[in-house]
């Protein structure tokens, strides 16, 4: 099972590299994954604009894309579906990026974007604004303030002069997240019955309100670039902070930057779409399971893979029971969980 003829350079000239660790299959080469992802991005975004509650035939869709034909179709494709598909893609990318960074920083495979507790802060802030009857702008603002408050609390507990105590980040985050959960329950209990459905809808998270994913995309690009620049330091951090220091890594700086990126990515994703689970925890593992653990591949692959997963899930969510939308988190799990379980089963 071990390579009989060692490849001179990994991934060059060979599409597949067999390792004993993956007896059921082979490590898919960098190039194959890259091509698949690069084709996948425009493909899923385009496919997402075909489907929806307003049926548009393939011919009409093509005309609409080109800016011809029925103006209603043009309107639906260009101002509703395309921005929403882009928002889904960017949100998925942000969640997966936060997942990669936190799993590495906390050295915990179960870490996801919500372990920091910032999404709980967004929920509490947003619900408070709704309870006070404020406008959507203030709901977003209060959400942001809630996230900032939680982040400040977690940092206050975990930042030490000598560097980050990463276990305190985890414990403080989990503790504050459950406190936020309790607050959310309290607000839901004391709110008037008329407001509760709107609150629940907002809490569950969906992408239907997404109109302008531009700022979100800019954030994703910047954060991904920072994470990519940190790639070798992140690789070293998988050995633990002491070993990373011994290998010459500025551990404190790397942790601070990566935590900051993960926090911003999570807050941006939660403000855009609510707390969508599964993407952040599962997408990085999918790539690790097919052999991509080094951050030079793991970071970009996860960002794109998370984006593709959430775009497909959102398309399914708003199509299967149209005109009713099922929560995107349900679709994410239905699509993602079987893939993850299959990969776990075939790797040893």
């Amino acid at each position: 099972m071990i390579d009989s003829a060692p490849s001179p350079k990994s991934g060059v000239g060979q599409s597949f590299r067999c390792t004993e660790a993956l007896p059921a299959g082979c490590m898919v080469s960098n190039r194959v994954v890259m091509v698949a992802l690069l084709i996948g991005v425009p493909a899923v975004i385009l496919i997402a604009t075909v489907f929806g509650s307003v049926p548009i035939g393939l011919h009409d869709w093509r005309m609409a894309l080109l800016g011809e034909g029925d103006p209603i179709h043009y309107e639906v494709v260009w101002t509703h579906r395309l921005p929403r598909a882009m928002a889904a893609f960017v949100t998925g990318g942000l969640l997966a990026l936060a997942g990669v960074l936190l799993q590495t920083l906390l050295r915990n495979p179960l870490a996801d974007p919500y372990v920091l507790g910032v999404s709980g802060g967004v929920s509490v802030g947003g619900l408070l604004a709704m309870m006070l009857g404020l406008s959507p702008f203030f709901i977003g603002l209060f959400g942001l303030l809630g996230a900032a408050a939680v982040a400040a609390l977690v940092i206050g507990f975990a930042a030490r002069a000598s560097g980050w105590d990463i276990y305190r980040v985890l414990l403080a985050g989990v503790g504050i997240a459950s406190a936020c959960g309790a607050f959310v329950a309290l607000i839901l209990t004391i709110s008037p019955a008329g407001q509760i459905q709107g609150m629940l809808f907002w809490l569950m998270g969906d992408l239907s309100a997404s109109r302008d994913p531009g700022w979100l995309a800019a954030i994703l690009v910047v954060l991904t670039a920072i994470a990519f620049l940190l790639r070798t330091n992140l690789d070293a951090l998988t050995l633990g902070t002491v070993k990373a220091r011994l290998l010459g890594v500025a551990v404190g700086q790397t942790q601070t930057l990566a935590l900051l990126c993960a926090t911003i990515a999570t807050v941006a994703a939660v403000l855009e779409a609510g707390a969508i689970g599964f993407v952040g925890i599962a997408v990085p593992h999918v790539f690790r399971l097919i052999g991509w653990h080094a951050h030079r591949s793991l970071v970009p692959f996860s960002v794109v893979g998370g984006g593709i997963l959430l775009t497909i899930a959102d398309t399914v969510a708003r199509t299967v029971a149209a005109p009713i939308e099922i929560p995107v988190g349900v679709a994410t799990a239905v699509i993602g969980v079987p893939v993850l379980l299959w990969l776990i089963a075939r790797s040893r």
């Binding site: 390579d3 990994s10 390792t19 004993e20 220091r245 011994l246 010459g248 080094a294």
Partner: protein, 253 residues
């Protein structure tokens, strides 16, 4: 390069592990650190590597306080094998060993260091070539220990600090690793390792440092320091082992 230990002292709370002591670890020297469990061997090694600040005095490398060195420059010259590490690593053995090239790579160098000659060489030195493409987490305890030592060697530091390098190894691998360390010193490098078997210290090391109660250190050439009576006093037990008799020592050398 020479590691100068200047009036170093270590303490945990009120317990003194090392009383102020000065000594020098030079090229071509292999130092064994001996002492009972909890004597502070690990802390001492960490202090020598410059990652433990809880001490007075200083450690100087090339005449410069180790704390003022850039970590990256230091990593090119001093490597430390930790006593215990998590087996959680997703990549292959080769990927794992290649991480040691980090301090040597330029900022814009190509990322993959898997084919670096020192990676290949240290895999071969630890007899891991056949396991190179296995996943690190599937290794046995002894194989993992060898991969960790291979990682340290691939870092190519002049000064090797090793915290219990013989953990989990079988007898043949123990001897093999000690031979590798002796070869490193023979080529002009320095080695400091914690050991539990004084016979290995006598056979492979040039110097020894024994950590007694209350932070008292005995150090010097191994045949002068590691005597039967000293070892009996160090561990607080009587030994019936001819290998430790002073007049038997030369047979091991």
């Amino acid at each position: 390069m020479t590691l100068d230990v200047h009036q170093l002292s270590l303490a945990v709370g009120a317990r003194i592990l090392v009383q102020p002591t000065s000594w020098t670890i030079g090229p071509k020297e292999c130092w064994a650190i001996l002492g009972p469990n909890g004597a502070g061997k690990t802390m001492l090694l960490h202090a020598l590597a410059g990652i433990d600040l809880a001490h007075a005095g200083e450690v100087r490398l090339g005449g410069v306080n180790i704390q003022t060195w850039q970590r990256r420059d230091l990593a090119q010259r001093i490597g430390l094998l930790l006593q215990d590490e998590s087996p959680e690593y997703w990549g292959t053995v080769q990927d794992y060993v290649a991480l040691a090239r980090l301090p040597h790579r330029g900022r814009y160098a190509k990322d993959a260091a898997e084919n670096d000659p020192s990676v290949t060489a240290s895999l071969a030195a630890l007899r891991l070539t056949d396991l190179a493409s296995r996943r690190f987490r599937t290794l046995s305890g002894g194989e993992r220990q060898r991969a960790r030592i291979a990682q340290l060697l691939a870092q190519t530091p002049e000064i090797l600090l090793l915290d219990e390098p013989l953990n989990h190894l079988d007898l043949a691998q123990e001897i093999h690793v000690m031979t590798l360390l002796a070869a490193h010193t023979a080529h002009g490098g320095s080695v400091v390792c914690t050991l539990h078997d004084p016979v290995y210290a006598l056979r492979y090391c040039s110097h020894a440092l024994m950590m007694y109660d209350a932070g008292r250190l005995e150090l010097g050439p191994v045949t002068q320091v590691v005597t039967r009576s000293a070892v009996e006093q160090l561990y607080g037990c009587r030994l019936d082992w001819p290998g430790l008799d002073a007049d038997f020592g030369p047979h091991f050398r």
